[in-house]
């Protein structure tokens, strides 16, 4: 949810044609016949699954290495771009140690048992203005 809220606005990753395309209730909606536009209706399972695929699909092989504990989270553009370590048109959005950083890295490290998934950080990150 934090990626949807913080990264998935219509002028950023909630935009057709952009890598890491993210759907969300208040941003881009998946094509639908239900009349759902930004700001209306509930998020669908298809949108959530598409977001998951988009997130793990930026660098699938590196993502494998990270979740298996063979590479650090900073091997991923998903982490380095919003931290400003790689060029990012949206600027620096995540700072080392902030809720977004803790949420994202704990999600990446949890599968290999290196850290527990930090639900509190993710709740805080999603609620940030």
């Amino acid at each position: 949810v934090f990626l949807e809220n913080q990264c998935g606005t219509l002028d950023c990753h909630g935009q057709i044609g952009r890598p890491l395309r993210l759907y969300s209730v208040n941003g881009l909606r998946a094509p639908n016949d239900a009349g759902m536009v930004p700001g209306s209706g509930a998020e669908t399972t298809a949108e959530l699954y598409s977001n998951y695929l988009a997130t793990i699909g930026v660098q699938p092989e590196v993502m494998d290495s990270v979740v298996e504990g063979k590479a650090p989270p900073t091997a991923l553009l998903l982490v380095t771009k919003p931290m400003g370590l790689e060029r990012h048109k949206g600027g620096t959005r995540i700072v080392l140690g902030d809720p977004m950083y803790r949420c994202l890295t704990s999600w990446l490290l949890a599968p290999s048992g290196q850290a527990p998934f930090d639900v509190q950080a993710c709740d805080a990150a999603a609620a940030l203005p």
């Binding site: 219509l10 002028d11 950023c12 935009q15 057709i16 881009l28 930004p38 949206g90 600027g91």
Partner: protein, 181 residues
Amino acid sequence: LAAVVPCLSCDFVIGDPVHQSQVDALGPEKQGIPRGPYHRAGQPCTVCHSTEGPASTVFVLAGTVFSSKTTSASQPKLVGVEGASVGIVDDEGSEFLATTNCVGNFYVSPNDFNPAFPVLVDVSMADAGVATMTTHIGRAGSCASCHADPASPSQPGHVYLSTSAPTSNPGCPVSPVLAGN
């Protein structure tokens, strides 16, 4: 060949074709509406009003606020709202208030306010309450780059504010009615 090759790397001569196509897509000026603060209501202002031009003035944020949608056939669908307040809070907590002119347009010059994106925006008017955006603006300077009609899965429609105030100011140099929508 020698005369041609040096120019192949001159982006400033050739220009950005993507940007140019965005400018071209806006079409010509409407008849009877001169260039200035009342023109091109509802269009993405910063396509032209950016450092890339072609407008000579640069805006960091700009757009148009319309009165609420109406189903009445006797009333036009889109009428600009005068006097709406557009409140902006940037990532560092700095605040700025812009006000719409008689066609509903507002614009913020970087000399007046140069926000650190992302920004939060609300639109308010005394008799209409406050409409707050449900998301922040990551970097787009034009309301209409996302808020365009018709509403669809990829765009929420124009910015509307339900108001009972008169939406047509007889003193306005141009009509606040956006034709063709």
